[in-house]
């Protein structure tokens, strides 16, 4: 069963609560891989290692493994001229508001559980909540 379905069915989320869900990732289908290959792979590379000085790696960083709200905001709004783990990267990350809540949830769940990463899943409901705040 896809995570999104598992998490969104039958339960209503309110307030910040749901952003603190710590549901562990379980190896199952990874719909996010498809999204990653379409929108992320050229800058962040097939191994998530990024490009030195240009595009940051998605490995070993609190930007990916830490606060989910911040991470969702980066996908929605993009990111520019921000040091990551004390390193500067020259290319901007474009805003990807065009992605659906479910796509963002899928791809972030994939990124947080690939390339050696291990962190809780991101749900479509969580993305929806953050999107409502940043609008």
């Amino acid at each position: 069963m896809p995570f999104g379905l598992l998490l969104t069915s039958g339960k209503k989320y309110s307030s910040e609560e749901n952003l603190k869900t710590t549901l562990p990732f379980q190896k199952a289908t990874l719909p996010g891989e498809k999204v990653y290959k379409k929108y992320c792979i050229s800058c962040h590379q097939p191994d998530g290692g990024g490009v030195p000085h240009m595009n940051p790696p998605l490995i070993n960083t609190s930007f990916v493994l830490g606060d989910k709200e911040q991470l969702i905001k980066i996908v929605l709004n993009g990111l520019k001229n921000t040091k990551i783990e004390e390193k500067a990267y020259t290319n901007p990350m474009p805003p990807l508001k065009i992605l659906k809540d479910q796509e963002i949830a899928d791809v972030l769940t994939y990124v947080r559980n690939s390339f050696g990463n291990k962190a809780s899943v991101v749900t479509a409901a969580e993305v929806k909540l953050v999107r409502s705040k940043v609008k």
Binding site: I41, S42, C43, N81, P92
Partner: protein, 431 residues
């Protein structure tokens, strides 16, 4: 009999004359034997007769470099290491390997050039020069003359590489702080800004006086425009003209998937070499050069579809390489050590691609283009390969990434690597 003696005398005089002429030539050119190459040629694959050695390792992010007439090496680091952004490398025991290293200049940057008694160095906003003594050493390391300041650095394409002509001018690249001048940079489907405003102060080459302090935009000449980002540039002595290598735009498929397949996007647009004269416009962000169709194509951000051409004609490249190889160094070879074929030809250091996926990445080599009378006279070829390691061509895991090029006083070719900071020396020995 008499006749035979006469012939012998003539032959003998000829032989003596030949010996004397030879002695004269060799004493004036002072032949210093080349150092021993590394057993594995520093891990490089080179044409027959060439060999290589690592002269220094782990120097930092070695961007551009310059070699003095004494054979000492100045290296500009992308970011200062232990507070030193310029390294001075010497080989005191003359075995080819650096055995004495010092540094100065607390700023990172790319540009490094030695000309007429000065060392020129750039940060990402300023250009400095340091007076050299008769041994080409910097006597006052702490007080360079700031010749240019206040150039734009907005992160993207912020290297300010430099070269000089023979009339007291310095040429500085100011790269565009954008991929293709979209309303929203690198965002799928976003269209180009009308009358791209970036071109006012970036996306071109500016000419300044090499000997005048405190210049900024207003003091310079906007020498050429429509150049997205130049890192490798050099003055062609044969042609007395500026040549540059442009980093072409990225991500045609990512941003406009309806017009470009991933396969097309991996090799388009061309990485172009341009011969630049005052007032030239190479067309960024309105057009790119397609090396397959061999023409200028309208950018998709400005109404293009991969086929449409622009009404206006822009400068054509003199050489068009496959896309995304990332040319970071350009050097016209004026030495005598290499075979005749290489004389006055162009060496290009390709840093290596990152936006070719899902196709394999490419580059991470030094290429060569033969030139005759200031124009390319043959096809480009790979000259030195193997910097990245034999298997994994990806920017993050490449062992070394070629960046800068310099010619030594004996005609050896030096290559810098800004990944591990290795400095290579490539030599040719007649068999």
């Amino acid at each position: 009999m008499k006749k035979n003696i006469l012939i012998s005398v003539l032959l003998l005089s000829a032989a003596i004359f030949a010996i004397f002429s030879f002695t004269k030539i060799s004493s004036s050119t002072k032949i210093i034997p080349l150092p021993k190459a590394d057993i594995d040629n520093a891990g490089l694959t080179l044409p027959a007769g060439f060999s290589a050695l690592i002269v220094a390792d782990n120097t930092g992010e070695a961007r551009h470099l310059a070699v003095t007439k004494e054979g000492d090496i100045y290296v500009k680091l992308g970011s200062a290491k232990d507070g030193k952004g310029i390294l001075f490398l010497q080989d005191e025991n003359k075995d080819g390997k650096v055995d004495k290293q010092s540094g100065f200049g607390d700023y990172g940057g790319t540009g490094m050039y030695v000309k007429d008694g000065y060392l020129y160095a750039s940060s990402n906003t300023d250009v400095y020069r340091y007076k050299l003594n008769d041994k080409d050493e910097v006597a006052d390391q702490n007080n360079p003359e700031k010749i240019i300041s206040g150039l734009l650095d907005r992160g993207e394409h912020n290297s300010k590489s430099v070269t000089l002509d023979n009339d007291g001018n310095i040429y500085v690249n100011i790269g565009a702080y954008s991929n293709s001048c979209q309303e929203s940079d690198r965002t799928p489907g976003s269209l180009g800004m009308k009358g791209c405003p970036i071109l006012d102060s970036a996306g071109g080459i500016w000419q300044f006086k090499a000997d005048k302090a405190n210049q900024t935009y207003g003091d310079g000449v906007h020498y050429a425009s429509g150049l997205r980002n130049i890192v490798g540039l050099d003055w062609n002595q044969k042609d007395n003209a500026l040549f540059v290598m442009q980093h072409g735009r990225d991500q045609l498929h990512d941003l406009f998937p309806k017009y470009y397949t991933t396969k097309q996007s991996a090799i388009l647009p061309a990485e172009c070499m341009y011969e630049i004269h005052k007032g030239d416009n190479a067309g960024w962000p309105y057009i790119y050069y397609d090396q397959i169709q061999k023409k200028q194509i309208l950018m998709p951000e400005y109404g293009g579809d991969g086929k449409k051409t622009a009404d206006k004609k822009y400068l054509d490249p003199v050489v068009a390489f496959p896309g995304h190889l990332a040319p970071n160094g350009l050097l016209f070879y004026t030495g005598n050590q290499f075979p005749e074929k290489y004389k006055n030809g162009a060496f290009i250091a390709f840093h290596g691609s990152w936006n070719r996926s899902p196709e394999p990445q490419a580059g991470y080599f030094v290429a060569f283009v033969p030139f005759k009378d200031g124009k390319p006279s043959g096809k480009w070829e790979i000259f030195a390969n193997g910097f990245a390691g034999q298997k994994n061509l990806s920017p993050g895991s490449a062992k070394h990434r070629p960046c800068g090029l310099a010619q030594g006083p004996d005609g050896s070719l030096y290559v810098s690597d800004d990944s591990k900071g290795t400095i290579y020396r490539i030599m040719y020995q007649k068999k």
